[in-house]
Symmetry: C2
Subunit: 350 residues, 2 copies
DNA sequence: AGCCTCACCTATATCGTTACAAATTTTCCG
DNA sequence: CGGAAAATTTGTAACGATATAGGTGAGGCT
């Protein structure tokens, strides 16, 4: 019994394709509807597209029949004919997949795509190929009608390429390119600024911030917000050296543990990510330093995680699901036709 | 400047389609190669498919030209003609997307699909529609060549439907159906059993386990492993009432906080998920109970998260990335043709 | 030479849809 | 009622790939 085989080639199980009369169970096509209504295939197509040239009652009749037999247009045929793919590609950077960063966005994106004809395809970008490759590939081979990607760089090649080719896209993060382009971003400047102010207000006198890798635009935003705050307040500060938010969590913790063991240890920590915030807490714990007394922490929260973490850390929330939802909506709008650029730019406030 | 509009309809920017001679930048098709080599389109197609009827040097020549001009087959055309979609659908239950459960699997799946012609499409299943709907839809409308889904139930309808229709799929979790079917599962029995044994060995005398919702098969496995261990050891035990691993994390914590405040509070906790494990730790903390002394905890770990959590909790690892990778590989194998069922069943050991 | 086989290549039809141009019917008006 | 205009509907040809059946020529055999 357990030796039975699964499957077989037998695609399209030999339905009687003798006459045009397709079996009741065969997949309904426009032709099926045409036969049922006595109309031409073209007419059916136009009727379903709600073309004004088709008489209203014809349209309704066709619509009814289509609904009755459960007609759904064949995506491959539509795609072949129109060039539209009905696909949105999310290009995922493996680094950002830690702790649900990607998941939140995917949730938002699927919510935006809900009820539309669009599908979400995950296109990973493997670290051994240049960042721009998947984007170029999707664009050149029309694998999707629109692209979503994240973690922009100041002179982001992907943005350049897509803008030059007028290809619909949206990215999470801004650039410093001369050309305006669509984006959804979080106010990381504001985050770092407010985080620093909070720490200082709570009594911290030497702040440390862990930044993302320098190549990302949001690293600059974070630094800038941080620097502005510490300069305004005239407190000591430093920027983590040798580790970034992308570093392995153990490396971050080791770094922090070392740094917290030194006499001039910072007493206020700003983390742009949840993993690094946990590393701060772990290091403090391992040094028997008390949170909110010996060391203070402000973390960026992107999930419900920190509600369960003790001792409670101060956090500032970034809503990535909302970001995903926005990106999806804006991208669909853009795909639908020309849109003034400022309607495609959203900055989520702190 | 900021008023410039983006985009426009202009799909297929009016390339000179006057002669058959397609412009150098136009998308190469089989026809392009046919013209370049002086062969017929059919021959080119067969040559690229490495058909033995085509002379070896012709095949090589075609291959060379194809590579030179960067030919890639049009997926829509292939799909229309062959019925094959080159798509794998991952049906995502929103509940499981907490804390990277989905992300890990997606990582594994994309790794399995790497280098193949397959794309990964995320198909969310919204909670207001029956669980089986997306699966039925994908199958009936041939939206994918194979389906991946998770969190099976003992009499899982999806499994039944797909098996009856001989449609390639793989699921994360087993069922109690009479028919053998493909799956990748984790030994949750073993997990709960070992977790209980560990707690007892460490001195716990009253164990509490938080289970997933009853309808999932793995809830039964966990309970069974748990019950076997506590009966073997003859210790007190209870199963969390009113909350499951799917409950809101705050609800889990509230429940645990209440329970820990009662005189007969359990002193050993087993959590099948990271969120609930954090809730245990938070509740203990809020009651000023010391971990590994007043209360003990064994959690299932599916990410690097717990390496950063203090105090260190005991965990047992479940590798979801590996599960995703396995599922991808098995599904591809199954799509390729008949495979003995036992080659499509994997149980990840504790 | 006549016929056959083998190795290789090609023509045609088709998947389901839609753009385009053309044909048909209906409506309207003098 | 004739005829033009408007309102509908229809036929044909693609989109790019592949399955199927058919064709061509070189060489061997009698």
């Amino acid at each position: 019994m357990s030796l039975e085989d699964l499957g077989g080639k037998g695609r399209r199980a030999k339905t009687e394709r003798v006459t045009g009369k397709s079996g009741a169970d065969a997949k309904p096509t426009l032709k099926t509807i045409a036969e049922l209504t006595g109309l031409a295939v073209t007419t059916v197509s136009r009727a379903l597209a709600d073309a004004p040239q088709i008489a209203l009652d014809t349209r309704q009749r066709v619509r009814q029949v289509a609904a009755d037999i459960g007609y759904l247009p064949d995506r491959a045929a539509q795609r072949l004919r129109t060039g539209r793919t009905n696909v949105i590609s999310l290009v995922l950077d493996p680094h950002e997949e830690i702790l649900g960063y990607a998941t939140s966005m995917i949730n938002g994106l699927t919510e935006a795509l809900r009820g539309t004809a669009y599908h979400l395809v995950i296109t990973p970008h493997f670290s051994d190929t240049p960042q721009i490759e998947p984007v170029r590939h999707i664009m050149r081979n029309r694998m999707a009608d629109g692209i979503v990607f994240t973690r922009t760089e100041p002179m982001d090649e992907r943005v350049k390429l897509l803008m030059e080719n007028n290809f619909p896209f949206i990215c999470h993060g801004r650039t410093e390119l001369a050309t305006a382009h669509p984006y959804v971003d979080y106010d990381n400047y504001g985050f770092a600024y407010q985080a620093a102010k909070k720490l200082i207000a709570a009594g911290a006198s030497k702040l440390l911030i862990i930044l993302p890798p320098e190549r990302f635009t949001f690293a600059h935003h974070l630094r800038h917000g941080f620097m502005t705050a510490v300069r305004e307040e005239g407190v000591g500060f430093e920027i983590a050296k040798g580790v970034t938010l992308d570093s392995k969590s153990d490396d971050i913790r080791d770094y922090l543990f070392r740094r917290m063991g030194e006499p001039d240890r910072p007493d206020g920590y700003i983390c742009g990510g949840e993993v690094s915030a946990l590393a701060v807490m772990a290091s403090a714990y391992d040094h028997k330093l008390e949170l909110d007394k010996d060391v203070r922490l402000v973390a960026k929260q992107t999930s419900g995680l920190f509600d369960q973490i003790r001792p409670r850390a101060e956090t500032i929330y970034e809503d990535l699901t909302e970001a995903g939802l926005l990106m999806g909506k804006l991208l669909l709008k853009r795909i639908g036709g020309p849109v003034p650029i400022q309607e495609l730019q959203v900055l989520q406030t702190v």
